[in-house]
C-alpha cells in the first residue's frame, strides 16, 4: 500500500509541477510537489550510499529535518536541505567506488 502510494506520488508529482506552472494554481500544491520530488531523490541517494556501506552520519537527519520544514511550509529551505542530503548520498557512492580501488594502498606491508 505504502509502496503503491509512493509510486503514484512519484508519477504524479512532476505532472503536478507542470500543471501548476502552466495554470497558476495555488503555490502550495506545486511547492509540496517539488519538495516531494527532492525528498524522494534524497532518500534514494541515501539508500544507494547505504547499500555500498557509505552512508554518511547526518543524511538521515537532514531528510527528516527537511520534512519538518516542509510541514511548516518553508519549502525553499526544505528543498535546499533535501538536495544537500541527495548530494551527500551521491558523494558516499563516489567515495565507495574510489575506495574500492585505493584502500589497499594504505595497508601496512
Amino acid at each position: 500500500m505504502q509502496r503503491i502510494s509512493n509510486r503514484l506520488r512519484r508519477a504524479v508529482a512532476p505532472g503536478l509541477l507542470v500543471f501548476a506552472m502552466g495554470h497558476g494554481v495555488p503555490a502550495l500544491a506545486s511547492d509540496q510537489a517539488a519538495f516531494e520530488v527532492a525528498y524522494d531523490a534524497g532518500q534514494a541517494a541515501r539508500k544507494a550510499a547505504a547499500a555500498v556501506g557509505h552512508e554518511w552520519r547526518d543524511t538521515k537527519k537532514m531528510l527528516s529535518d527537511a520534512k519538518k520544514l516542509a510541514e511548516k511550509s518553508d519549502f525553499e529551505a526544505a528543498i535546499a536541505l533535501a538536495e544537500r542530503a541527495k548530494r551527500q548520498g551521491e558523494l558516499g557512492v563516489i567515495q565507495a567506488e574510489h575506495e574500492e580501488k585505493v584502500w589497499m594502498d594504505a595497508v601496512l606491508k
Binding site: 554518511w56 552520519r57 567515495q95 575506495e99 584502500w103 594504505a106 595497508v107 601496512l108
Partner: protein, 282 residues
C-alpha cells in the same frame, strides 16, 4: 560498478583457485607481522606487552592519572553485576555455565572465531546472546547494560590469556571474512573521509583535539571498557560505532557482519598480546 564487481569476483575466484601466489594481498600472518613491526618501530620505548594498555602505553602523564584510577576501578561494580547475571538460572534450569563450561579459567581468548557451521565470525557478545536464544531466553541489547556486564565478568576471568585468533586455511570463507574486515579497516568513510587506519595507524601517537590517538595494536585486549564518558562499561562494537560517527559516517549495527568481520581482523592484528579486560578509560 557492475563490471567492477564482476572483475572483483573473477579475481577472487582465481585467488581461491590458485592460492595466494597470484594475489597482491598479504596473508594474515604477513599482515600481522607488518602491522606489529610498524608499532614497534613507531614506539620503540613501549614493550610489546604494554600495547595492551592503549594510549597509556605511549604517554607518561596520562598513564599516571590512569594508574591512580585503576586503584579503585569503576568497572568492579560492573564485574559484580555481570557475575550475578551470569549465575542466574534460565527458565529451563540451565545457565550460562552450560554454554561456557570453562568460564572460570577464561573463555574470551577463544573469540572472535570462525564458525564453519554458521559460516560467520562469532564474537564473545554474540555467543552470549546465542546461549540465551538456544535456551529459549530473550537476547540482550548489545553495546551496554547486562550484556556488557556479563562480557566484563568473562573478560575479567580471562585476564592473562594470549590473543590467538585463527583464520583456518581449510575454509576460504574464513579468509574472505578476514579480508572483509581488513578492507573495512583501511577504507575511508564519512564526510570527513577517514579510515580507522587514518587515525590509529598513520597518525597514532598524535593528538586529535585533546585526544591522543592510540595504536591499534592491543586495542581489543581490554574490552569491554568502562568509560567515564559513558559512566558504564560498553562493548567493542559500541566503540566502533562511536569512531565511525566521529568522522560523520553512519555507524553499523553492533554485531552486524561488518563489525564482526572488522573485529576478526582487528583482533588478529593483536595476536600475542595478553587479555587485560575490562579496562578503564576517559
Amino acid at each position: 560498478m557492475r563490471t567492477v564487481r564482476i572483475l572483483l569476483a573473477a579475481l577472487l575466484s582465481s585467488y581461491l583457485a590458485f592460492g595466494p601466489s597470484v594475489s597482491l594481498a598479504g596473508s594474515p600472518e604477513e599482515d600481522r607481522e607488518a602491522f606489529q613491526n610498524f608499532y614497534k618501530e613507531r614506539f620503540p620505548n613501549t614493550p610489546f606487552e604494554d600495547f595492551a594498555n592503549g594510549i597509556y602505553s605511549i604517554d607518561k602523564e596520562r598513564r599516571q592519572e590512569w594508574e591512580q584510577m585503576e586503584e579503585f576501578p569503576q568497572y568492579e561494580l560492573d564485574i559484580d553485576a555481570g557475575e550475578a547475571l551470569f549465575h542466574k538460572k534460565f527458565a529451563n534450569g540451565k545457565g550460562f555455565a552450560d554454554c561456557f563450561p570453562d568460564y572460570e579459567t577464561g573463555v574470551r581468548q577463544n573469540y572472535p572465531h570462525w564458525d564453519p557451521k554458521r559460516g560467520e565470525v562469532v564474537t564473545m557478545e554474540w555467543a552470549i546472546n546465542l546461549c540465551l536464544e538456544e535456551n529459549g531466553e530473550k537476547p540482550l541489547k548489545y553495546n551496554r547494560g547486562p550484556l556488557a556486564e556479563i562480557s566484563a565478568y568473562l573478560a575479567y576471568l580471562s585476564r592473562g590469556h594470549v590473543i590467538d585468533v585463527k583464520v583456518p586455511k581449510d575454509d576460504p570463507r574464513a579468509l574472505a571474512a578476514y579480508e572483509d574486515g581488513k578492507r573495512f579497516y583501511y577504507t575511508r568513510r564519512g564526510q570527513l573521509n577517514f579510515s580507522c587506519a587514518s587515525c590509529h595507524v598513520h597518525t597514532s601517537g598524535l593528538k586529535l583535539r585533546s585526544d591522543l590517538l592510540s595504536p591499534a595494536l592491543g586495542q581489543v585486549s581490554h574490552f569491554p571498557v568502562y568509560r567515564k564518558k559513558w559512566s558504564a562499561v560498553g562493548t567493542l562494537h559500541r566503540r566502533y560505532g562511536g569512531c565511525n560517527r566521529q568522522v560523520r559516517a553512519a555507524s553499523f549495527k553492533p554485531q552486524s557482519r561488518q563489525y564482526r568481520n572488522l573485529e576478526y581482523f582487528h583482533t588478529y592484528m593483536s595476536n600475542g598480546i595478553r587479555l587485560n579486560g575490562p579496562g578503564g578509560r576517559q
